[in-house]
Amino acid sequence: MASGQQWVLVEMVQAFYEAPAYHLILEGILILWIIRLLFSKTYKLHETYKLTEREKEDLIEEWQPDLLVPLISKDHPSLKYNIVSGPPSHKIIVNGKECINFASFNFLGLLDSERVKEKALMSLKKYGVGTCGPRGFYGTFDVHLELENRLAKFMKTEEAIIYSYGFATMASAIPAYSKRGDMIFVDEAACFSIQKGLQASRSFIKYFKHNDMEDLERLLKEQEVEDQKNPRKARVTRKFIVVEGMYINTADICPLPELVKLKYRYKVRIFLEESMSFGVLGEHGKGVTEHFGVNIDDIDLISANMENAVASIGGFCCGRSFVIDHQRLSGQGYCFSASLPPMLAAAAIEALNIMEEDPGIFIVLREKCKHVYKALQGIPGLKLVGEPFAPALHLQLEKSSGSRSSDMQQLRSIVDYCLERKVALTLAQYLEKEERFLTPPSIRVVVTVKQKDDDIQKAVSCIREAASVLLK
């Protein structure tokens, strides 16, 4: 075998000698060509299109950006704000006209309470206005700690944490817990603050139909099936339900007892936004948990702002320390923002005092709500949306004209008509392009304890008159 091979080799060498020169040259070139192909770089498309400096300069010259902001026409409906001179309390001066206020969320009438003002002033005399720092860096005042304790005690939870801006509260709380890859189930009617929190969390979001527990359960079941397929992933995917106690956009309340049942059945945590129900619902104004008699420990996190019933500024979250304490390092709006001015915290504490001393105020508010709700029924052309005990109701058009802007126009004319006759109302304002599910246009009717029967009488007859004159 070995000698045979040697023979072949010898023959090859012989053939090499005998071959003509042109043949050898050709083969040599071919071999070199193969080697070149082997070692040459892979063919790259963009290299061939590489731009020269000159071309780059031209591109830079040519580029024309859009305007920073689109031009707004001078008669954009929301460009011109109503100007309120003086305090926005029960009597409010809108564009120079003194009206009865049916528009500010001052449910308990605490905005011009002398007691609250006095405490705020005392605090101002002691601390000045601003805090000049975030909570971490000498921006924590003893008043903040007191307010947090008082809120926790009021709500009967372990801990509370305050934010300096109501809107930022839920928007910061959600992304503090729910991260990329987690799962959030949200009611379609959720307010804008929740929507922003969801967006900041970068979690998977599933919307269920407004207050439709069957739809929610369907989604939860789907998720359960999904989880069984991939149990490893399911073990680290946190799941949350985010709902509002009383929806600002629809003025109805969430079916909390059913939600709690679903929570334990599917092992999902509940975050509850109570800006419209804190200081309104329940015997002591504790909100929707008290309204339904749900154990507050069953809710993982409750957030509310102190800008409506409490008539101060800021917001808070409360719940078990295990949950709430995490926000002290992870709540962006808490860590990176200057703390709440102490005088506003002091005002909130005094408001809590008033609420604790006189729970009768909530009964009065409920009575007023029912009264207004009944009185606003049956206005031709308008329909009332909301629960009888909701303090911020919506009046929508019975029949939409088909175009949102002309609907808005019609409702605005009613608001203007009432304003002319000294009843202050407002349209519910939304960013139409940004809302996930836009509710139909509406007039907000806000009930406060300060409104007397004849005020209500006047307002209702005014709206009725406006509707009959302006809606054809």
Binding site: L121, K126, T131, S312
Partner: protein, 567 residues
């Protein structure tokens, strides 16, 4: 085109831990393409130390001196070792806690919810549990007075190594405040501002209970915004209830899909959040580095959007006036030159610089003597220099009109509290000299003098100080994790309140103390603080600087710079 020797990264022959922290050499990059000539006025300081771009033919009206001395090699190694030891002990103690040998103080999940998916990943809180908790007493110290030049602290003790605090009921009186952002000293409970705020709270109450677009637009809101526009020298302005939210809720109104945001790597969390919420593409350039910014701008315009190669709709550059953790000042003249050349828009966050910089207190634009109309979006806060709360956006009328219709804040958030608005009006009038006094301009001058004095003295003592010579935010490097806690406690025991920061607010090895100089500080107060800092510095061996300069009276504060105050 000449290149300033100062633009080259420091190379003094020895092996520097460049690669480790990666930031230092590039940090001071400035724009070559725009620099026609550069004069180097070396003010008796090492060239290597001051990576400064001085006088770029007309771009800068005053020297721009910024220094970031490198971390000494040995210190860097020791710092990493420190973290190593802490981590090892952290694991050990977690192990002990797991086997219930050590008592665990951490709040527990509710019993019924034990089988839920855990709310926190275990490693998420490792740092908090094992590192932060040891020195937690340095943060969130409650105060019970005005956050002025001196403040009273609520005394607290911990019997379980900072897991819980107990308030003793005593107060620590007259602690020198080097922590609050009270640049112009408007955190006051007496005087015009407080009186005016009190009057307004009696008249208006403290809440508003509605949004700007609905029925919460008070006359004083409008008054304040008009004054603000005048103060800033722009067409129009709009104010919002929270500084953080001013960024996070308005950037989404300005940019969206198909837009590009070029953001400084050290931008504040609120800018980052706003950019993220906007849905735009975000690219990050090196801190205050104009070459890096220009490169990104060129690439962006030449290549367009990724994959589709469509041209970007618009490009927004986001920078801050003073960076609160570095004490650096944005190279605004160069940024404006770049933005002009590449037709980008500029978003300038003046949270720390408004009031605190410039001969007339108009912020960084005033500091460099530029035209405010060159900045497309001027943003700032009222929390710091004005001693109030909230934020603003100012610029062209079209911009503000658009925001009045489309800002998330205007539509969904409760408007600003009336007494807070009044505090802004009064303090702003004071800064502008419209109250008929010179208090405002005096304070601006006082702040500039205090800043120069404080920075110079610290440098003479041999501390490593970061940032711009004109910045009232003075970061002093501590580096090692153990020194964070030690410095904070030692200073407090000498009745001085300081802010100390470590990871994650800073890069891991660059823990630091941060002093905020205020116009309310008197020279004696600063001297008292400085001697304490020096004492603690010796005790903890914090005088790291290898470029120690001789104490000298040769370089007194240059008063001429601030003499041309014209209002």
């Amino acid at each position: 085109m000449t290149e300033s020797p100062a633009s080259k990264p420091a190379s003094n022959g020895e092996v520097c831990p460049h690669a480790r922290n990666g930031l230092k050499p590039e940090r001071n990059g400035f724009l070559k393409s725009l620099q026609q000539q550069s004069r180097h006025r070396d003010r008796d300081r090492d060239e290597e130390e001051v990576h400064a771009a001085l006088h770029h033919g007309g771009l800068y009206n005053r020297p721009f001196l910024e220094s970031f001395e490198e971390t000494p090699m040995l210190v860097a190694v020791l710092t990493y070792m420190g973290y190593g030891i802490l981590t090892v002990f952290g694991y050990l103690r977690d192990f002990l806690r797991h086997w219930k040998i050590e008592r665990c103080h951490i709040a527990r999940e509710k019993e019924e919810q034990k089988d839920f998916v855990p709310l926190y990943q275990d490693f998420e809180n490792f740092y908090t549990r094992n590192l932060y908790m040891r020195i937690r007493d340095n943060w969130n110290r409650p105060i019970c007075s005005v956050p002025g030049a001196k403040m009273d602290l609520v005394d607290r003790v911990s019997h379980d190594y900072n897991w819980t605090f107990e308030y003793t009921g005593r107060t620590v009186k007259a602690v020198i405040n080097l922590g609050s952002y009270n640049y112009l000293g408007f955190a006051e409970n007496t005087g015009r501002c407080a009186d005016a705020a009190a009057e307004v709270s009696i008249a208006y109450g403290v809440g508003v209970a509605s949004t700007r677009q609905e029925i919460g637009n008070l006359d004083i809101h409008e008054e304040m915004e008009n004054l603000l526009a005048r103060f800033l020298g722009v067409e129009s302005a709009m104010a919002f209830g929270m500084g953080f939210a001013t960024n996070s809720m308005n950037i989404p109104a300005l940019t969206g899909k198909g837009c590009l945001i070029l953001s400084d790597e050290l931008n504040h969390a609120s800018l980052v959040l706003g950019a993220r919420l906007s849905g735009s593409t975000i690219r990050v350039f090196k801190h205050n580095n104009m070459q890096s910014l220009e490169k990104l701008l060129r690439e962006a315009i030449v290549h367009g959007q990724p994959r589709t190669h469509r041209p970007w709709k618009k490009i927004l550059i986001m920078v801050e006036g003073i960076y609160s953790m570095e004490g650096s000042i944005v190279r605004l003249p160069e940024v404006i030159a770049l933005k002009r050349r590449y037709r980008a828009y500029l978003y300038l966050d003046e949270a720390h610089s408004i009031g605190a910089l410039g001969p007339r207190g108009r912020g960084v634009v005033d500091h460099f003597g530029l035209d405010p109309r060159d900045v497309d979006v001027m943003m700032g806060t009222f929390t710091k220099s004005f001693g109030a709360a909230g934020g603003y956006i100012a610029g062209k009328r079209e911009l503000i009109d658009y925001l009045r219709c489309h800002s998330h804040s205007a539509v969904y958030a409760t408007s600003m509290s009336p007494p807070v608005v009044e505090q802004i009006i009064t303090s702003m009038k004071c800064i502008m000299g419209e109250d008929g006094t010179t208090i405002g301009s005096d304070r601006i001058r006082q702040l500039a003098q205090n800043t120069a004095y404080f920075r110079r003295r610290l440098r003479e003592m041999g501390f490593i100080i970061y940032g711009n010579d004109d910045s009232p935010v003075v970061p002093m490097m501590l580096y090692m994790p153990a020194k964070i806690g030690a410095f904070g406690r030692e200073m407090l025991s000498r009745n001085i309140g300081v802010v100390v920061v470590g990871f994650p607010a800073t890069p891991i090895i660059e823990s630091r103390a941060r002093f905020c100089v205020s116009a309310a500080h008197s020279r004696e107060l600063l001297d008292q603080a400085l001697s304490a800092i020096s004492e603690v510095g010796d005790l903890l061996q914090l005088k790291y600087s290898r470029h120690r300069i001789q104490p000298s009276g040769a370089r007194p504060f240059d008063d001429g710079v601030y003499e041309d105050v014209d209002d």
